[in-house]
Every structure is written in structure tokens, then in C-alpha cells.
Symmetry: C2
Subunit: 148 residues, 2 copies
């Protein structure tokens, strides 16, 4: 669009802040969730995605897309959660190649009990540091980054 930038372009400061803020906040949330709930952040994310999905289930590929994870990554993640009884696999009737990852009641309970820790963290490390207006513009900007 504009000409090529150099390593000293001042706009890169925003990019670096973006990277660092993400890394720090996620690292802290990860540690807190692990310490208080013995749960990995990715596992939590799966439960959230399934909990808001239609019929509390998602095709493996859609889950992978939501989590920005490779398909094999999704396979193994769901493997682990199945072993814990939080998720179950259901073969898709209309497309026999496919699998639903479906949230069990135990999974829903686990999500409910882990949520307070996680949400408190998100609030403390992220939301409370931004004004309501800021949060709105942030959402708008990042949706622009995500577009197409």
C-alpha cells in the first residue's frame, strides 16, 4: 500500500507493543489458570468455544479454525479432553469422514468452575487497564485486522 517500511519505522512501536502485551497477559493468565485450576489455557478455550456453539458441539476443523490451531493439534487436544471426560467425539451422520467434538456435562461443569479464575485474570490484566471507549475502538481495530 504505502512504500516499504524499514526496521526503524515508528509504526513498528505499535506492533511491538501488541506482541509484548499479548505475550505477557497470556503468560500470566496461563500461570494463574494452571495454579488455581490445574488447567491449561488452550483446554479452557476449547470448553468456551464448544459451550457457545450450536448444540454445544463443533466439527474438528471448525474448532481448529476457532482456536487458530493446526488440525493435528486439534485432534490431540480433543484426545486429552476426551480422556478427562470433558468432551466426547461423535461421528457425524451426514458426513462419515467427520467428527463432532461435543461438550459433556462434566465439561460444562468444569468450565463453570474454572471461569471465575480466568475471568478475574482477564479483567485484572487486560480489561480494567482500558477504558470502555478504548475497548470499543480496540475491538473495531482488531476486527479490521482479522477481516477477510
Amino acid at each position: 500500500m504505502t512504500g516499504t517500511i524499514t526496521r526503524h519505522d515508528t509504526r513498528l512501536a505499535s506492533w511491538r507493543a501488541f506482541l509484548q502485551a499479548h505475550a505477557r497477559v497470556v503468560r500470566d493468565l496461563e500461570r494463574e489458570l494452571q495454579a488455581d485450576q490445574g488447567m491449561a489455557l488452550t483446554d479452557y478455550d476449547v470448553l468456551v468455544q464448544l459451550s457457545v456453539a450450536e448444540a454445544r458441539r463443533l466439527r474438528m476443523s471448525d474448532l481448529a479454525d476457532q482456536l487458530v490451531l493446526s488440525r493435528s493439534g486439534a485432534t490431540r487436544l480433543v484426545d486429552r479432553l476426551c480422556a478427562e471426560g470433558l468432551v466426547e467425539r461423535v461421528t457425524c451422520e451426514s458426513d462419515r469422514r467427520g467428527q463432532w467434538a461435543s461438550l459433556t456435562d462434566a465439561g460444562m461443569d468444569r468450565l463453570r468452575s474454572a471461569a471465575p479464575t480466568h475471568l478475574r485474570g482477564v479483567q485484572e490484566h487486560f480489561l480494567d487497564r482500558l477504558s470502555t471507549d478504548d475497548l470499543a475502538s480496540l475491538e473495531r481495530m482488531l476486527k479490521g485486522v482479522l477481516a477477510d
Copy 2:
């Protein structure tokens, strides 16, 4: 600060956009840098950090902090870069426990040759999708998130 939030708080949309935007952009940059330059994004980040540091060197712990990486992670990362000749370890004279990770000339060259690919990606996937004003507010907001 404000009362505890629930999983349905509307402010969480900003948080989710933040997570997804980060994951998508970083995944794309990672793939492009790997494909075009055979280099991992983390490796690139090390070279950048060292290149802008005083005397082009950084103590292991400071490097770990900059990269938001564990100390063992930094050790192994520097191990790999030393093996490639892009970085070298220098024992710190004033504190014999310490090590400097120091950018070699080869490392500087490698950075210079990889930069165009990376910067083009950052521009395309991130910078060009935001206005100059947006980038400024973004930087301000994220520095607030990083504060203290």
C-alpha cells in the same frame, strides 16, 4: 476494580478479538518467514533485540524478559543461534555468573537479509489495516496494559 464479570460480559469481545488477531497474524508471519527465509520468528526476534541493544549484546535474563520467554527457553534459543554462528556467548567480567548474548556480524547480516520479508508481512497483515491514528491509540492502550 469494577464488580466481577461473567462469561457473557460484552467487553470480552475485545479480548477475544485481541487473541484471535494475534494468533492469526503471528501464524501468517511465522509461515512466511519460514518459507522465504528458513527462519523462525523467535530467532528473528532475538536478532532484532540484540541489534538494538547497547553494544549489540544482552544478558540472558534481559533477553528472556524482552522476549517474554522462560530462562531455560532463552538458554536453548541462544544455543541454537550460536550453533548457526549468528550469536555468541561472552562471559560477563563484572558478574561471573552472567553471560552476554552478543550479535555477530553474520547475525547482523542475517537480520538485514530477513527483514524485508518480515517487515512486508507486518505491514500487510497488521500496519496497513490500521490508520495512523489507530496505530497511535493502539500503542498508547497496549502500553497501559504493559504498565508496571
